[in-house]
Amino acid sequence: MDSIYNDLNAPHSMGTTIIGVTYDGGVVLGADSRTSTGMYVANRASDKITQLTDNVYICRSGSAADSQVLSDYVRYYLHQHTIQLGQPATVKVAANLVRMVSYNNKNMLQTGLIVGGWDKYEGGKIYGIPLGGTLLEQPFTIGGSGSSYLYGFFDQVWKEGMTQDEAEKLVVKAVSLAIARDGASGGVVRTVTINKDGVSRKFYPGNTLPLWHEELEAKDSLLDSLSATSPEPMVS
C-alpha cells in the first residue's frame, strides 16, 4: 500500500505557469503562485519571480529548491560581475550564467527558467532556459506545467511591439487561463514589468481574475460559510 506520508515527503515542486514577453520598451514577466508537495499545496501565495539584479529578474519552475539555489548562485556571480564591470550587467550575461549553471549540473537539477530584464544596450530581452540548459533568446516564452495549455493561445494572440498595458493584460489573461486548466498552477497572478524607468511589481488576487468556461466562483475561505447566518432552530 502507498505510504500515507507520500504527499508530505514529496519534494516541493512548482507545478507552475511562467511567462515572459517583450513589449515596445521592456519586458513583462508573469507567474502563478502555487507550490505543491504532491497533492498538498505547500504555499498558495509564493513568489516565483525572483530578482537577480536591479534590472534582471528570473521566473522559476520545476523543483523549488533547485531553482532557488540556482538563483542564489547566479545572483552572487552577477553581483561580483557588476562590481568588476562598474555598471549593471546585461540581460544576456545574466541568462548565460543561468544557462552555465543549469547545463553543467544537468544531472542534478530539474528546473525550467525564464530570464527577463532591460539593459541600455539591447533594451528589453527574454531568454528561455528549459530543462537541459539550452539558452534561447525569444520575443516571448512560456514555461512550467501550465504552459502546455497556452501554446495555441499565444500562437493566436501574440504580436510584436505591444504597449506596456497590452503586454501586462496579455500575461495576466494567459496565466489565469493556465490556472483554470492546470491543477498544479493556482493562487494569485504576479507580474513584474521591467523597462528603462525601473521595475514595477503587480499583484492580481484570485478573485480579480476572469472566470473561464465552467469555472465556479472562488471562495476566499471556508470560514465564510461559518459567518453566514445559521438556520433557525427547528421548533416543534
Binding site: 561580483q80 550575461v93 550564467l97 544557462r99 552555465m100 553543467n104 539558452l135
Partner: protein
C-alpha cells in the same frame, strides 16, 4: 627625472627613501628605448601605428609583428622587450577568449564555472564565463592587473614593455595604455617609445573628434615618419592597424592601398618640412 637609486634599486620589492620603486622605473627605460608606437582615437574607431626599427637587412618584411589582434574587436601594440610583449599578448588573448566562453583542455571533464584567478585582487575566485565579448575597459584592467602582478614579488621581474590596447565595443572605440608599473589609463591619443615626446606634441595638434579613421591613418603615418630619427636609426618599417566602422568593428591591418597612400603622404610631408 633620472636619479641614481644606489642601494634601493636592486629589488622590485624595495622602496627608496623617497617612495620610489626603482626597478619599475628602470623597466620603463627599456620601453623608452624601443621604436615609437602611436595610437589615436578617431570619431569612428582607433588607429595604431608602429615604427618598427629594422635590425638587419635579412629580416623578411612583414615579419616580427608589433601589433597583435587580441580579440575580434581589439588589438594591442607593443613597445619594449619583444619577448615580454609576447607574454602579455598571450595573456590578453586568453583573458578575452575565456571571458566569453571557457574552453577546457579536456572535453570530458566538468567545465569549472569558477576558477582561481591569481591576477585579480590576490587570490579571489572569479567567474570567467559571460557569453559576450569582453568590454575593452575590462580587458585593459585585466592586462594591467597582470602586469602589476609581476611587480609584487621578488622572484619575478617587471615586464620590460608598454602596451597600447585599442578596441571597439558596445561603448564605442576606446584606447588604453598600460605601462610596466601596471598603470592603465584611457586616452584620446597615446605614444610610447623613442619619439614619444615629439609624437605627443603632434597628436595634440590634431582635431581627433572630427577625424575619421581614414584620415587618422594618414596622420599617424605622418607622425611616425616625422619622429623617426634618420641619423640614429637607419631603416624602419611602418606597421599599422585599425578597428573602426569601415572595418566592421574588427581589428585588422590597414588595407594595402590605404597604407601605401599613407606612406607616400607621410614622405611628401617630410620633404615639405625639409624644403622649408
Amino acid at each position: 627625472m633620472s636619479s641614481i637609486g644606489t642601494g634601493y634599486d636592486l629589488s622590485v620589492t624595495t622602496f627608496s627613501p623617497d617612495g620610489r620603486v626603482f626597478q619599475i622605473e628602470y623597466a620603463a627605460k627599456a620601453v623608452d628605448n624601443s621604436g615609437t608606437v602611436v595610437a589615436i582615437k578617431c570619431k569612428d574607431g582607433i588607429v595604431m601605428g608602429v615604427e618598427k626599427l629594422i635590425a638587419s637587412k635579412m629580416l623578411l618584411p612583414g615579419s616580427n609583428r608589433r601589433i597583435h589582434s587580441v580579440h575580434r574587436h581589439s588589438g594591442m601594440a607593443v613597445a619594449g622587450l619583444a619577448a615580454d610583449g609576447r607574454q602579455i599578448v598571450t595573456r590578453a588573448k586568453s583573458e578575452a577568449t575565456n571571458y566569453e566562453k571557457f574552453v577546457s583542455r579536456h572535453l570530458s571533464c566538468k567545465v569549472p564555472l569558477v576558477s582561481v584567478d591569481t591576477a585579480e585582487a590576490g587570490e579571489f575566485r572569479v567567474l570567467r564565463v559571460y557569453g559576450e565579448a569582453i568590454p575593452v575597459k575590462e580587458l585593459a584592467e585585466r592586462v594591467a592587473s597582470y602586469v602589476h602582478l609581476c611587480t609584487l614579488y621578488w622572484w619575478l621581474r617587471p615586464f620590460g614593455c608598454g602596451v597600447i590596447v585599442g578596441g571597439y565595443d558596445r561603448d564605442g572605440p576606446q584606447l588604453y595604455m598600460i605601462e610596466p608599473s601596471g598603470i592603465s589609463y584611457r586616452y584620446f591619443g597615446a605614444a610610447i617609445g623613442k619619439g614619444r615626446q615629439a609624437a605627443k606634441t603632434e597628436i595634440e595638434k590634431l582635431k581627433l573628434s572630427e577625424m575619421t579613421c581614414r584620415q587618422g591613418v594618414i596622420e599617424v603615418a605622418k607622425i611616425i615618419y616625422g619622429v623617426h630619427d634618420e641619423a640614429k636609426d637607419k631603416a624602419f618599417e611602418l606597421e599599422m592597424s585599425w578597428v573602426c566602422d569601415e572595418s566592421n568593428r574588427q581589428h585588422q591591418k590597414v588595407p594595402e592601398n590605404l597604407l601605401e597612400e599613407a606612406k607616400s603622404a607621410a614622405k611628401a610631408a617630410l620633404e615639405e618640412m625639409d624644403a622649408d
